[in-house]
Amino acid sequence: MSILSTDLLSKNFDTPAGSVHAVRNISLDIQQGECLAIVGESGSGKTTLANMVLGILAPSAGEIYFDGELLPSKRSKVQRKAIQLVQQNPLSSLNPKRSVGASVRLGLDTYNMGARSNRWSVVEHALESVGLPSEMRHRAPSTLSGGQRQRISIARALACEPKLLVLDEPTSALDVLVQARVLRLLNELRKERALSYLFITHDLAVVRNVADRVAVCQAGEIVELGDTEQIFTAPEAAYTRSLISAVPVVDNDEMALRNKLASRE
């Protein structure tokens, strides 16, 4: 069953130089428990698409369905709660003047989840579930590393008990070792909690290891959509091939795959 689907979704921005089509007629769907990656470079419209799914940007045309229901332009509390976000920049996504715990607790207070007296222990549990010590709730974000902050962002989103997580370049600001751990965490959480992911990224190597299906976007349109395996072994679009061959590789198997794709040009 599909958890989210978009039907001919479009977004235009009016600029002094005329109307810009940031997203054009995008139709896609995410199955329950699936990770769908949206891959594209800057200007591909991937972040605009994410913002429409999150309800912070109104589509110019088209519809978004969630859990079988059409999402209205003014969403209900239940509908907002069900779709949460993890942002790219761990430096700005946490309020520097509030404790980690206060940030994670925000969703619990907003949606009045559980008994008030019990919420700090829910926060502590949420921190533990992303691999952080519960005492960390007293800390200020400035005392934490990028990886720890990103885990807190994940805990904050999960505290709302969402069904769909929008992950907007969640690891691209992190070091490789930290990235590997955070991606493993995201994979585990998805299985444990039957979550669905909309994974926005420019990094195809990451996509290969986390996504079930991939939508490749260019200039606001989907140029290719398919199973991850198929996209990487037999990409149809020239743009997809060029993206794959631009990924820096470290081992010979990867070189071989790249050369194989290059020979198909």
Binding site: I83, N89, S93, S103, L106, S142
Partner: protein
């Protein structure tokens, strides 16, 4: 510990802190520390009138024989009260208006900020003088006049910070979670404006003292016999240069207070901005 280290790097702000603490201490305990506690009112002692500084009267005496040092300490009491009251009223008004305009945006922003612009376009002293021309020249009215010219500066300051913070990821995060505009303005954005607000308040204590003194210098502020630095300078200026102590010491007193608050404000700016 960290605060101490920063203070140690900025010896001038320590000077400011000491000056401010001394002034506050003197103002609060004025009755107990001044040599002539009754000289804050209309005491007349012609035997000692208009005397230069001496061991008996450190800063000399005024035209009716009152001890200038005692009157300066009492004047500090008035100035500080005025400063604290003005800022205690002007800061919350300006902050709330600035936050609303900065975070909510749209027509709210337009209406509020144009209002602020109107106030800012009139020179503060001119507006205060105009108000005092209509109102009775009392301490309360002086505070009212200075407050009216003061809040727009806080609105402007908080507005510009809130505008910038609105673009930060944590505001987006709170919006996606579905937090209310009140929560986002007051619980998320306001804490990030506080360092700048506190710094500005410290600096402004000095400026409020100047404005209030200017008003009373022009005869529009606190009225005799209540001691006020501005009116003491004004009165004494007529007897320059012969009876120089009449105006020079109150003038220096204004200078020291403004200087102290400014140095402290600069130090605070550094301390409070460190974790940014």
């Amino acid at each position: 510990m960290r605060t101490l280290r920063i203070l140690a790097r900025n010896p001038l702000s320590v000077v400011g802190l000491v000056l401010v603490l001394l002034i506050i201490f003197a103002a609060v305990f004025a009755q107990y520390i001044v040599p002539y506690p009754t000289h804050n009112g209309s005491v007349i002692d012609f035997a000692f009138a208009n005397k230069p500084p001496s061991a008996r009267n450190w800063f000399g005496t005024d035209l009716v024989g009152r001890d200038i040092f005692s009157r300066i300490i009492y004047a500090y009491q008035i100035s500080l009260t005025l400063g604290v009251v003005v800022l205690a009223v002007a800061t919350p008004i300006g902050t709330i208006i600035g936050l609303l305009a900065g975070y909510v945006g749209g027509w709210v922003e337009n209406v509020l900020m144009r209002l602020v612009d109107i106030f800012l376009s009139i020179p503060p002293l001119v507006l205060a003088i105009a108000m005092m021309g209509v109102l009775e020249p009392t301490l309360t009215n002086a505070m009212l006049a200075v407050t009216v010219v003061w809040w727009p500066w806080y609105a402007r300051l908080v507005y510009s910070i809130a505008r910038a913070e609105r673009e930060e990821g944590y505001v987006l995060a709170a919006e996606v979670i579905g937090a209310s505009a009140v929560h986002i303005s007051f619980r998320e954005i306001l804490p990030n404006c506080l360092p700048a607000i506190i710094t500005k308040m410290t600096l402004d204590m000095g400026f409020v003292i100047i404005i209030a003194s200017s008003l009373s210098f022009l005869g529009l502020g606190v009225q005799p016999p209540t001691p006020d630095l501005g009116s003491m300078v004004a009165e004494g200026a007529r007897y320059l240069p012969d009876s120089w102590w009449l105006s020079v010491f109150p003038g220096l007193a204004i200078l020291v207070a403004v200087f102290g608050f400014n140095l402290l404000g600069d130090g605070l700016r550094e301390i409070l901005s460190v974790d940014k």
